[in-house]
């Protein structure tokens, strides 16, 4: 192996030398090299170790179709060396070794291969007690690169893309398709996973520079075309409904939506199966051609070329043209096809052995292939006799291809096995999906170009541009694939799946065990389940299965092709995360006051306000005490805030809430409870009547969007004369609460705040601190209080004005936790905390809110049914002894060793000087008056059922006399 003199069209930049380290040694390469090409150019043929037996491995596909060359690149595990661009200063190590690549201690496993047949673990590890041991052993042995759990998350910029025609694959057929589609007027995106376009048109030349020129002209035309966007270094990772294809680049995912998709993805070259076909130096012919023409690397000095098609002859010519001695061409086929390439080889004096095969490859010192043992090829399945041993330092395999049909399968294409090609080809394509080139069973260059033009025209027409042109593509005359490139060997090590170290006999054993269906075979043998997902193994595996079960490959079928086409880094999948966050207009004020934030849906709310050297619980109790004894202010702008306007507004509310609203006086509010059709409580709030035809009402914070959506739907369905407006984000809201709330408010409003003029549960409109406002007399926290709603842009000013006016009264902001405590003392429930997805009003003591005599409300009929059934649970208040342990929310009520309920709310009550709570319990326990709660440590705590409200049961706090 060596670096060749400059090769026309090479991808490397010889003016930009780079240095890097691999396995502790220094190497040199050039910009434009991949890790693999740079290592090979430096004479390094061993690149990795196999997964199971830790056999030395070198280049196989040089196309990211195998995992022989997988490296750890800093904190990036499993970098594919075949395609990862070389960069200055890279430090690489091989993965899956114990003691390094050259002295991998785990290579001993190879000697134990006979004890590790396919599926051995299904039969070997049945002792439950030893499971932890085996788990540790296998976790240590398996896996490839090391994941660095401390690696930062890369925020990659995802983007959306749109085109009329997406062409996947910029080889000759893809280029022709893109140009044809663009010529008909379509916006075309042409994507190729390689760093440069051209595909096989740039390297499968048969030493004919005319083929390269032809491809280069197509590339130039595509680049110059104003309607073609060319994206290289990106692969189409999958096909999803409506022509949605994620394109993965090294830096981002492009979510491409197309009107039509052309799959011109080519084919994977397939290995021949013979003993030691995995030795370093044994590679696919196309890999050698790519090394030659893209990176000017001569992959070997003396080669044996195993062929079964014209591509192999062209590969031999390419090698010979670059100084490689071709020791022999071994053709599996009994008769030559007398192609131009074959004649050219003969003219060069190169020996061609038709009807022959490589029985086994033999390694030399250092593990690289040193000779090929040749014999007559027998398709019957016997191991041929070795008739000749040919010295070489490289073996090329060119026996056939498997279509890169992953995306076609994902799109729902029906494929059929075409015996004349020995290949699956598209039979019925989904609407808007087209195929051309090798994936379509077209192999000769001229035919591929025609096929591309046909597909491009048809796709453009499908997208609405022009008419599809009638183009006839001639059928292949020379089969590109050998139907049985297998050479059995009694000593095995003739690998079918290089990822999983699966040998020919493993398939025989699997079928013998009864796994004779392709999906079962896959799962038992793990064929195609490695990192390359069967790109080089599935075709041969199904051929073997077909032969062993007496069926055709078409009858066997293929396994399901699922996204992603290649492994996609988590950073790309995750992309730039969008986490929408809502803030109330008073956010900055809260921040300045030391708010400790908590999420509430999309919103951020102050959980409490931290004070220096004061513990969290004490801060919360101080805030609560401030409300009980003075005045407090809480931001409740996260509540849903809706309006309904129109002659039918009251009637509408009566249908969607359980209570009655038509009899409400203008200027008053009323509690509102909402159920779904099954009678389950889903939301609550307060309805305020601003005019005969105008109501303003609140919902829970988390329910706002869903309630608005559902009410809008119902309004459309019922066609009532009213309209609903969602003002949740447009209004700021605060709750000013406490014995001194009225005094604070009076300082900044001209409204009459007397109990007579503004009684409990009234609503008024006026100005507060000069800001137009709606005020509601509420008692959620159990004190004299006003919920004040203003336009959002005035929210901060309102907060400042209230804090300033309240300063003389010791006003303190209070957060969600203090509010939860205060409302618990008052016995008010929180929907979603004290209810769940099955709770009915009957179980939470809300019978009073159900106006069953109304003609209709959502959930009414279910409620009638539920009312006739015995209750399964009931929500009760409870108190705990003054001293001792306290349970937490969701701790279970236990009765006779059975679950008999759970705690929904609990807090230490400053007012009662003990823990109080709400719990769902069995109705019998509620009647008994006490029950036991199990804590997380197993202790049982006795709770006493208590009537609610715990605090101010007679509601005196809302009356003037208080």
């Amino acid at each position: 192996m060596r670096r060749l003199p400059p090769v026309p069209g090479e991808w490397i930049d010889r003016d930009r030398p780079l240095t890097f380290r691999f396995e502790g040694r220094s190497f040199r390469g050039f910009a434009g090299d991949t890790l693999t090409s740079a290592l090979l150019a430096e004479g390094e043929s061993m690149l990795g170790r196999s997964f199971k037996y830790h056999r030395p491995r070198g280049v196989l596909s040089f196309a990211n179709h195998d995992v022989n060359a997988v490296v750890q690149l800093g904190d990036q595990p499993n970098a594919r060396a075949d395609v990862t661009p070389l960069d200055e200063g890279m430090t690489l190590t091989a993965v899956n070794t114990f003691g390094g690549l050259r002295k991998d201690r785990a290579s001993l496993l190879g000697a134990m291969a006979r004890f590790l047949p396919v599926g051995f673990y299904y039969k070997a590890f049945h002792t439950k007690a030893l499971f932890p041991l085996w788990e540790r052993v296998f976790r240590a042995l398996t896996g490839l690169g090391k994941v660095d759990l401390d690696a930062p998350r890369w925020r990659t910029p995802k983007r959306y893309g749109f085109c009329d025609v997406l062409v996947i694959g910029a080889g000759p057929s893809g280029l022709a398709a893109a140009l044809a589609a663009a010529e008909q007027g379509a916006r075309v995106t042409l994507v190729d996973e390689n760093a440069r376009p051209g595909g096989s048109g740039g390297y499968a030349l048969g030493a004919d520079p005319g083929r390269a020129r032809q491809t280069a002209e197509l590339v130039d035309a595509a680049r110059a075309h104003p309607r073609i966007e060319l994206i290289t270094g990106a692969y189409a990772a999958g096909y999803y409904a409506d022509h949605w294809v994620p394109l993965v680049t090294p830096e981002r995912m492009i979510k491409m939506r197309a009107r039509a998709v052309i799959v011109a993805s080519g084919a994977y070259e397939q290995p021949a199966v013979f003993r030691n076909n995995d030795l370093p130096g044994v590679m696919l012919a196309s890999a050698a051609q790519r090394l030659l023409y893209r990176h000017a690397v001569q992959p070997m000095h003396r080669a044996v070329v195993l062929v079964a098609n014209a591509d192999g002859y062209r590969a031999a010519l390419d090698l010979a043209a670059h100084g490689v001695k071709i020791a022999a061409v071994i053709d599996l086929r009994p008769q030559s096809c007398l192609t131009d390439a074959e004649l050219a080889l003969t003219k060069r004096g190169i020996r061609i052995l038709p009807g022959s095969c490589i029985v086994e490859a033999r390694p030399g010192d250092g593990g690289r292939v040193a000779s090929a043992c040749v014999g007559p090829f027998e398709e019957r399945g016997n191991t041929p006799t070795i008739t000749e041993t040919i010295d070489c330092d490289g073996i090329l395999m060119s026996v056939g291809w498997a279509p890169t049909a992953n995306l076609l399968y994902q799109a729902g294409t029906r494929m059929r096995y075409e015996p004349s090609l020995a290949q699956f080809v598209p039979d019925v394509l989904p609407e808007g999906v087209f195929a051309c080139g090798r994936v379509n069973g077209t192999y000769t260059l001229d035919a591929r170009l025609l096929d591309g033009r046909r597909a491009g025209s048809a796709a453009a027409a499908h997208a609405g541009f022009g008419e599809p042109k009638t183009i006839t593509v001639p059928p292949e005359t020379d089969a590109p694939n050998h139907p049985w490139p297998m050479i059995p060997h009694p000593k095995g090590k003739n690998f079918v799946d290089f990822d999983e170290d699966l040998q020919f006999k493993d398939f025989e054993n699997a079928v013998q065990e009864g796994f004779d269906n392709i999906e079962l075979l896959k799962r038992f043998s793990t064929v195609g389940m490695g990192p390359s997902q069967g790109k080089h193994s599935n075709m041969n595996a199904l051929r073997i299965l077909a032969r062993l079960t007496g069926r055709t490959p078409g009858q066997v079928g293929s396994t399901t092709a699922r996204p992603m086409f290649h492994p996609v880094p988590m950073a790309i999948l995750g992309g730039r995360g969008f986490h929408p966050e809502r803030r109330t207009p008073m956010h900055d004020q809260h921040e300045a006051l030391g708010a400790v934030w908590m999420p509430a849906g999309d919103w951020r709310r102050p959980e409490y306000y931290a004070r220096p050297d004061v513990a969290r619980d004490e801060c919360i109790r101080e805030e609560a005490r401030s409300v009980r004894e003075g005045v407090g202010l809480i931001d409740v702008g996260t509540l849903g805030k809706l309006e309904i306007i129109g002659p039918d507004a009251a009637a509408f509310l009566e249908r969607v809430y359980t209570s009655r609203y038509s009899n409400m006086k203008v200027g008053m509010t009323r509690y509102a409870l909402m159920c779904d059709e099954s009678g389950v409580v889903i939301d609550d709030g307060v309805v305020a009547r601003l005019a005969e035809d105008h109501f303003y009402f609140t919902t829970t914070t988390s329910g706002a969007t869903a309630v608005y959506r559902e009410l809008s739907r119902l309004n459309l369905e019922w066609r009532m004369d009213c309209g609903i407006v969602n003002h949740t984000g447009a209004h700021a809201a605060v709750n000013l609460a406490g014995p001194r709330a009225r005094e604070v408010l009076a300082a900044i409003t001209a409204l009459d705040l007397s109990a007579a003029a503004f009684p409990y549960l009234a609503v008024r409109e006026g100005k507060v601190a000069g800001i137009p406002a709606r005020l509601m007399r509420v008692g959620f926290v159990g004190e004299w209080g006003y919920e004040i709603h203003v336009p959002a842009r005035s929210g901060a000013a309102l907060w400042e004005a209230l804090m300033k006016a309240g300063a003389a009264h010791g006003i303190r902001p209070f957060g969600v936790e203090a509010q939860r405590l205060l409302r618990l003392e008052k016995g008010h429930i929180i929907i979603g905390q004290d209810t769940d997805g099955l709770t009915t009003p009957l179980e939470i003591g809300m019978d009073w809110a159900l106006k069953m005599d109304k003609p209709f409300f959502v959930g009414q009929r279910s409620m009638e049914i539920l009312a006739r059934k015995p209750r399964k649970q009931t929500l009760v208040g409870f108190t705990l002894p003054e001293h001792g342990l306290a349970p937490k929310e969701c701790h279970l009520v236990i009765e006779r060793n059975e679950i008999a309920g759970r705690v929904t709310s609990i807090a230490w009550s400053p007012a009662l000087q003990r823990h109080i709570g709400l719990a769902f319990v069995d109705p019998d326990l509620a009647a008994r008056g006490h029950f036991r709660i199990r804590t997380e440590h197993g202790a049982m705590i006795e709770a006493t059922v208590s009537p609610t409200p715990f605090y101010d049961p007679d509601n005196l706090k809302q009356k003037e006399v208080s």
Partner: protein, 190 residues
Amino acid sequence: MSVPLPHSPAPAATLSLTDLTVVRQLVGVKGPKAAQWLANLGLPLPETANHWLALDDDRLIARLGLSEFLLDGPPGSLDTLAATPRTHGVYPVLRQDAAFLLCGAGAPELLAQVCSLDFATLEVTPGALALTSMAGVGVTLLPQPGDGGSRYRLWCDGSYGLYLWETLREIAEALGGDAVDAQTCTESLP
């Protein structure tokens, strides 16, 4: 820890993001008779949903649906409309939206990173606008033709304003753009 991916190319494109929230007045109205109500006030109306019209040099009216409208103008320019009493079938909508302006050749790339809408199809229809989702937030987006390249007005619920602003600004800066103060934004509106 979360960090931007290194080696992200920053296309050399002009891109500016301006917060217009406090320098614009918004008025909303919806209802089955909203169109007639606006027409009676002498306002021209877009004939179809998801379209907009310039009322004059500095105001616009957008039809967000068959029966919902958004009007945008400088502060005070819509006071009369806002104070006009509603009538039957007309429901005033308090609009306290965040309002942004996105300008420059880099704007389409920014939009492509936050929104799944194909703006190329939107822009071929004169006067079209879109109600769509951007970075997870519902927005009204209105492309405006101009000599200076791509220009987009967008509005979202004000409670999402800071989130959307920070999200757009981070991407804009990664693309080589920047935030521009509303006072220095010399582009005429609408």
